[in-house]
């Protein structure tokens, strides 16, 4: 099949969507610089590139959220201009965005149909029965485990993801854009998504699939387009294209070692958690972390991994169980305490939980340990800046000055800033929750290197992750969680992907 697609790709007639010489600039930054993109009827086309490469902007141009400064958009060969999302919807284009964009207070039905509900010609009354029916059908097709009346806010991220897809389907879109759809999903959920995506393709939809995960791309796409620094690098059929070549095209340099090996002697136990329980989230979780060790906690979304970490960090309060540091039980009433004790946490959602985006780097870096930068409550700003300079340079943050706003950095660098926040204090244990989520390849390796350095310096590290390769590539031991309980403890050297999955997936495997 890929072969004939290849032939067709040369043939302009089959191009359902084509963008030529698109340029979009924002004050102070060029987001798209004379880029090209084309989509063939009925293909799944992967669009990859580091953060800041211009992918998300391209989508917003296609969906009409932005109007390009110059360049033309051809829909089935005819030039079009979209003056807003409504236009593109009418043209049969639907987008599923990176940060799920739902209405938490409204029902699933409304989330799917809002803006294009079926209304009675005269009374303009919304035909609820009809909508609910169609919603039910759509959810059926995506075999969802929730009803059309459910309030969106009560759904898990994965479930909301499905609603987003249902939304796209409801418009009978011919072109569906998926921006990092798998980012918040576990492997199993991703599998479901792949299935759905393919069935869409088979039903004649053309799909633009954006992702950081190489797995996604090789699994689904037939062609791939690479952007770098707001410019078009190239488009190739995936067949026979090596992942290293693509990575080079993305980052513009060769990345020799993906999971840097390291030699660290694992020291004595620092953190031990005994029978930690929180009603409704997790139960009887016990484990320990040693100096220089990287402990991976994995499992499906909603298995309680993040919840356990947040309980240890003191964001939430466990109902029972004890946490001991260096053998001494500690009382944690809030993050302030845990930081004082030397437990640091890199949260899962860096934009909401990790950073003050409109703040300068140094103010972000010193926030958790502000006390140590004050004399009698008096801030020593110069020292803050000095320390920040030192840390950010050590972590090779790509920024021009400690006065840069955190919001202006790329995902990877933002992640490094959060690490810097932890290093500004004297930590013993560092918890990293999905440290590479939504981070481009270049930054990933950097973060892995940092993790190793930290381990080498004798920090105990807990890494929560859904991505098998990094779990297997980075950790010393693997804790698999299932439905709020510890499902398995595996030694990385012997563990296999299958073992982990079977332990993680409910029903299968022994707990």
């Amino acid at each position: 099949m890929r072969e004939d697609l290849l032939k067709e790709s040369t043939d302009v007639a089959d191009r359902i969507l084509e963008l030529n010489h698109i340029t979009k600039t924002f004050p102070g930054v060029t987001a798209l610089d004379d880029v090209h993109f084309d989509l063939i009827q009925g293909e799944i086309h992967a669009l990859i590139g580091e953060n800041g490469a211009g992918k998300s902007t391209l989508i917003k141009v296609i969906t009409g959220v932005y109007e390009p400064d110059s360049g033309q958009i051809l829909l089935e060969g005819k030039p079009v201009r979209f003056h807003g999302p409504a236009d593109s919807q009418r043209a049969g284009i639907a987008a599923i965005y990176q940060h799920v964009t739902c209405y938490p207070d409204l029902s699933v039905t409304e989330n799917i149909f809002i803006g294009h509900e079926k209304v009675h010609p005269l009374t303009r009354k919304i035909d609820w029965r009809d909508l609910r029916q169609r919603a039910a059908e759509l959810l059926e097709r995506l075999d969802a485990d929730f009803g059309p009346r459910t309030i969106m806010g009560n759904l898990s991220v994965a479930q909301q993801q499905i609603v987003e897809i249902a939304k796209a389907l409801s418009t009978n879109a011919r072109i569906i854009i998926m921006d990092e759809p798998t980012a918040p999903l576990t492997n199993r959920e991703s599998e479901d998504l792949y299935r759905i995506t393919e069935s869409l393709r088979d039903k004649g939809a053309s799909i633009i699939f954006i992702s950081h995960r190489m797995e996604d791309m090789y699994r689904l796409a037939t062609r791939v387009t690479v952007y770098r620094d707001a410019r078009y690098v190239g488009t190739w059929p995936l067949a026979g294209k090596k992942r290293e070549e693509l990575i080079m095209a993305m980052v513009g340099r060769e990345i020799t070692q993906f999971f840097p090996k390291r030699s660290v002697t694992i020291g004595e136990e620092i953190l031990s958690v005994r029978n930690l329980s929180r009603t409704g989230y997790f139960k009887d979780v016990s484990f320990s972390v040693h100096k220089g060790e990287i402990l991976a906690i994995t499992g499906l979304i909603g298995a309680g991994r993040t919840e356990v970490c947040e309980a240890i960090y003191g964001v939430t309060h466990p109902d029972s169980g004890e946490i001991a540091l260096d053998g001494k039980p500690i009382q944690v009433t809030g993050p302030a305490d845990s930081i004082r004790h030397g437990i640091g946490y890199l949260p899962e959602d860096r934009l909401r939980q990790g950073l003050v985006l409109q703040w300068e780097l140094f103010r972000n870096v010193t926030l958790p340990t502000l006390g140590s930068f004050t004399t009698a409550g008096w801030l020593n700003t110069l020292r803050e800046q000095a320390v920040t300079k030192e840390l950010t340079e050590k972590l090779e943050v790509r920024a021009s000055s400690v006065f840069d706003l955190a919001g202006t950095l790329s995902g990877g660098n933002q992640q490094k800033i959060i690490v810097a926040k932890l290093l500004a204090g004297t930590m013993k244990v560092i918890i990293l929750d999905e440290p590479t989520k939504g981070v481009d390849v270049g930054a990933k390796t950097a973060i892995f290197r940092i993790m190793n350095d930290l381990a080498a310096q004798g920090y105990g590290i807990i890494m929560v992750s859904s991505e098998m390769p990094e779990v297997l590539g980075m950790s010393d031991r693997i804790l698999v969680m299932k439905e709020g309980k510890v499902a398995a403890f595996l030694d990385t050297h012997t563990a296999t992907q299958e073992q982990i999955l079977s332990a993680a997936v409910p029903g299968s495997g022994a707990a």
Binding site: S56, V65, G334, P335, L367, L370, G377, L379, S400, L409
Partner: protein, 343 residues
């Protein structure tokens, strides 16, 4: 490869220096003084400048903590009632035989307690917005004041007490001195201490602050108590100026105060604004009121003028060149931030 050295200075431009809200306020302030002195021959007068500040500075004490409250992204509309309640309690307890100095202390205590209650309600019931909490306590506090004093006025304070609101030291009104001190203290608190930094953090991103170990609860409570305390201070000066007090004093103070803070360029979305703005705003509104009063502008016209001033200034702030968001913040500004702005 790009070099990894990170500079310790920020990109600096005259533009970013002059396009600051405070500059506009300074201009307005000077304009108002010139206008007034043209309008009324009595404006350019020593006595006027001694007595003028005393007519509006009582509220101004609340402006200081209210700035913190609004930077936190909250709002407190119970301050007027707090003033009334603490003033009433002070007067009643004094007339019940409590020595005046103690009565003054009690006044401050009552104010702080009112603030504390607000703070506790806000932290124990985080689901509730500060508007709701303070809306109901606003009604309750004044209600209590009515229960205590019914339709009586209470006063008969010792004569020395009236000097608090009327007297001056070396030609400078005591009120002005007191306010200057408070202003400096609050300014330093907000801009030079970890306490202030944490307030800004919470206003900018509450969740991130919690994850970064900011004790959000205690910050909210402290700020609320400060607000109550300053309301108590206002009560002291107000009752001193009125020589007596009633349950219905300080009605609608909350809105005057909020207006001043906002005119001062503090965004009610939280996280933005500095103490300097509100300070200037206090004097702008105060001088404007008094100056126009000197030429006997009718009260209703004053309403319109102040309202317009508020709207127009905020319009300039949002639409005009002053809008910071429209300027590139740094050369390395990337796609992420654009997303943040547009989504």
């Amino acid at each position: 490869m790009i070099d990894r050295t990170i500079r310790l200075d920020r990109s600096w431009s005259w533009r970013s220096f002059f396009f600051q809200w405070e500059w506009l306020l300074v201009l307005i302030f000077i304009a108002i003084n010139i206008l007034n002195s043209f309008l009324s021959p009595y404006y350019l007068d020593v006595d006027t400048f001694v007595s003028m500040p005393m007519t509006f500075l009582d509220k101004a004490f609340i402006v200081l903590p209210m700035t913190m409250v609004i930077i936190l992204g909250n709002i407190d509309i119970s301050v007027g009632s707090t003033v009334a309640l603490s003033a009433v309690v002070m007067a009643v307890s004094f007339n019940a035989g409590l020595p005046m100095p103690l009565a003054l202390v009690l006044c401050l205590v009552v104010g702080s307690v009112c603030g504390l209650i607000n703070g506790l309600l806000m932290t124990r019931f985080r689901e509730l917005s500060s508007v709701i909490v303070t809306l109901s306590t606003m009604i309750i506090y004044r209600g209590i004041a009515y229960i205590i004093l019914e339709n009586q006025a209470s006063g008969k304070f010792p004569t020395w007490y009236s000097t608090l609101g009327w007297g001056s030291v070396g030609g400078i009104p005591i009120m002005v001195i007191a306010f200057a001190v408070c202003a400096v203290v609050f300014g330093l608190l907000l801009h030079r201490t970890s306490f202030g930094r944490r307030i800004y953090a919470m206003g900018s991103n509450l969740t991130a602050s919690r994850y970064s170990g900011v004790k959000t609860g205690s910050i909210i409570i402290i700020v609320s108590v400060l607000t109550g305390l300053m309301a108590g201070v206002t009560a002291l000066f107000l009752s001193s100026r009125m020589g007596s007090t009633r349950p219905n004093v300080a009605q609608g103070y909350e809105l005057d105060v909020i207006a001043m803070v906002v005119l001062g360029g503090v965004s009610t979305a939280g996280g933005k604004g500095r103490i300097g703005g509100p300070l200037l705003a206090i004097f702008i509104i105060g001088f404007l009121n008094y100056g126009l009063g000197l030429v006997n502008i009718q009260a209703q016209d004053l309403l319109i003028v102040v309202g317009l001033l508020l709207i127009v200034s905020v319009l300039v702030l949002n639409v005009g060149f002053l809008d910071r968001k429209k300027r590139p913040v740094s050369p390395t500004r990337g796609e992420k931030e654009i997303q943040e702005e547009d989504l």
